[in-house]
Symmetry: C2
Subunit: 358 residues, 2 copies
């Protein structure tokens, strides 16, 4: 029941929408590239399906379409960037570029960002380092949906971490994952299919284990990677907390339960502890450690050795992080990007609002 | 059935043993501090219980008691350290100090280490940054015991990550965790108690889910954090892989299945791809991002807010990473450190070998 659209069509349309929101040509182009990269790579929950959400935040005055994004504090290897309330889709590339420039100068660069909004997929930003022969890292905090181990209260976002590592002959290693057992987007897929969630994904509002994929709508919470204490959920909680602190306490953004919600119908938390959402980016030149060709040749060995790991079943070989998304992108660029009908309907409404064609 | 020993007694004894192995006074003092910090903090699997293992590696010629630990490559914010086959217990503090010195100069420091051995608990090294008002990070690769998602072959170590973050009035945030569902030490406790493991900790040699705590002895494997694909084990596999690459591919150590075994009765893998084990350390000055007092005050808010998270049960409040280990250390420094009788027997044999008292 999906409808296929070309990558270029979605790029052109979303660029037009960002222009209508008042973004500059450069920002509209960039924001559309970042947003649609999610659809291209198969992370459907973070692509054009979110476009109307960004628009509602803009209508609510929570997104500044003409931000003055700038460095407000820096050392040779670090910086804090103030996103000025802009789209995370344009604030993040600015900050990642600062990290890359600092790495070019002193070996590594680390940038914490305040006063931003959702930045699309973390992997897009981390991958920006690859063609500079750098390792890239990106993380962000997000609306509180996750209960720490032993808690029934939602305190953290799904706080993803992405790490992109260049190789030589092999494609790069690209890890990009939420620090929860499953990202919210996975839950939404189960909701649409009216299926149950595996245990360890969610709990109900009292903190009991649940398989109800709609549990978040009645006060439940997503669970940190691990699911419960016996299965290491305290480690997932640690990871989510580290992302929160690097992204928001280092920069001066809102952290923990103060992180602003993505949905515009929820009010901003009272008594904010900072400005907007926070992100954290890193870049390390591989030749700041050993000659780049040597590093990349060993990454080729690493990747080919792990790819040849003895599998449990011959039908399912061991994967390298980034394989599924790269294969998805290679297919979708030619075959088109399938959108669910509710998403198509949503985009048609956006088109009508701005007097655009879709 | 435990026997209590004072922290000082264990420090003095292990220092004497390292001296007998031929370590310098400075290295013997340092190695004993790092090793016994594990017992003090309650990570019993990584403390004096491992002393005889270090000795057997030394007897097999796999540990150099008089290493020339040195920087072999560097930029203003990065370095590679060659551990010269020394005890990780002394190589790691050298490398962490390099990271701290670089952070003092340019905001952050990142050090990858080759030709090392097991370094004790990661948390000890990360915490070295705290009294400099820096965030500290430490990770290491280790003997391959872990099967990637979809694999039945052991390819990665339990590859821990530690992150220590300073606060003001509150104690610091100290996360220190293996990137597997459970560390091998947890499995050894179940073996001694003749108890089963929860599902998701281990699989048998064919790759089937297992609750047999002895599964590793018959070709089984530990599982990445998450346990299986449905519960996010691909994320735990990503984390373990990132630790492996940062620790060993960046530095020129052995990675993946080539990581040398801790137990001396296993041969070194043929055709090594590098030298020894690898580690990775990081330090970031918090005032490289915002004024230190401001950062620490917000960390106090973060910690107190998370500590007051509504718990599922009033009997089990939500913890801050580092709470259990800090409370354990505060108790054991006064009450003494309990050792299992097989560990006491092992240490008495070590004492006899070196003509020491225990």
């Amino acid at each position: 029941m999906d409808q296929l659209f070309s990558y270029e069509h979605l790029r052109t349309f979303t660029r037009s929408v960002f222009l209508k929101m008042g973004c500059s040509e450069v920002h509209a182009e960039l924001a559309s590239e970042v947003l649609v990269s999610a659809d291209l790579r198969g992370v459907d929950s973070h692509g054009v399906a979110r476009l109307s959400g960004y628009i509602r935040l803009w209508e609510a005055g929570r997104i500044n379409p003409k931000p003055n994004i700038r460095i407000v504090h820096e050392t040779p290897s670090t910086a804090v960037v103030d996103g000025d309330g802009g789209l995370g889709l344009v604030v993040a590339p600015f900050a990642m570029q600062v990290a890359i420039d600092k790495a070019a100068n002193v070996g590594s660069g680390w940038v914490s960002v305040k006063h931003s909004n959702h930045f699309g997929i973390a992997g897009y930003h981390a991958m920006k380092a690859l063609d500079r022969d750098m390792i890239g890292m990106a993380m962000t905090n997000a609306s509180p949906l996750v209960a720490p181990t032993f808690a029934k209260e939602r305190m953290l976002g799904t706080n993803p971490i992405a790490v992109a590592i260049p190789a030589g002959e092999q494609p790069p290693f690209v890890a990009d994952f939420a620090t929860t057992t499953a990202a919210n987007g996975k839950l939404e897929i189960l909701q649409r299919k009216e299926q149950e969630a595996p245990t360890g994904w969610v709990q109900d509002k009292a903190g009991n284990s649940s398989v109800n994929a709609n549990e978040l709508k009645s006060g439940g919470a997503l669970l940190p990677l691990g699911g419960d204490r016996d299965h290491g959920s305290h480690k997932g909680y640690c990871l989510g907390a580290i992302v929160d602190i690097f992204s928001a306490v280092l920069s001066g953004a809102n952290y923990g339960p103060w992180a602003p919600p993505f949905v515009s119908f929820l009010p901003l938390p009272p008594d904010p502890v900072g400005e907007g959402l926070g992100h954290f980016f890193g870049a390390m030149r591989v030749d700041a450690f050993r000659p780049a060709e040597e590093f990349k040749s060993h990454m080729d060995t690493w990747i080919s050795r792990f790819r040849s790991t003895t599998p449990i079943s011959e039908d399912q070989p061991v994967l390298i992080p980034g394989d599924p998304e790269r294969e998805m992108a290679a297919s979708r660029i030619h075959e088109g990007i399938p959108l669910l009908l509710p998403v198509v309907k949503d985009l048609k409404e956006v088109a009508a609002k701005f007097e655009l064609d879709f």
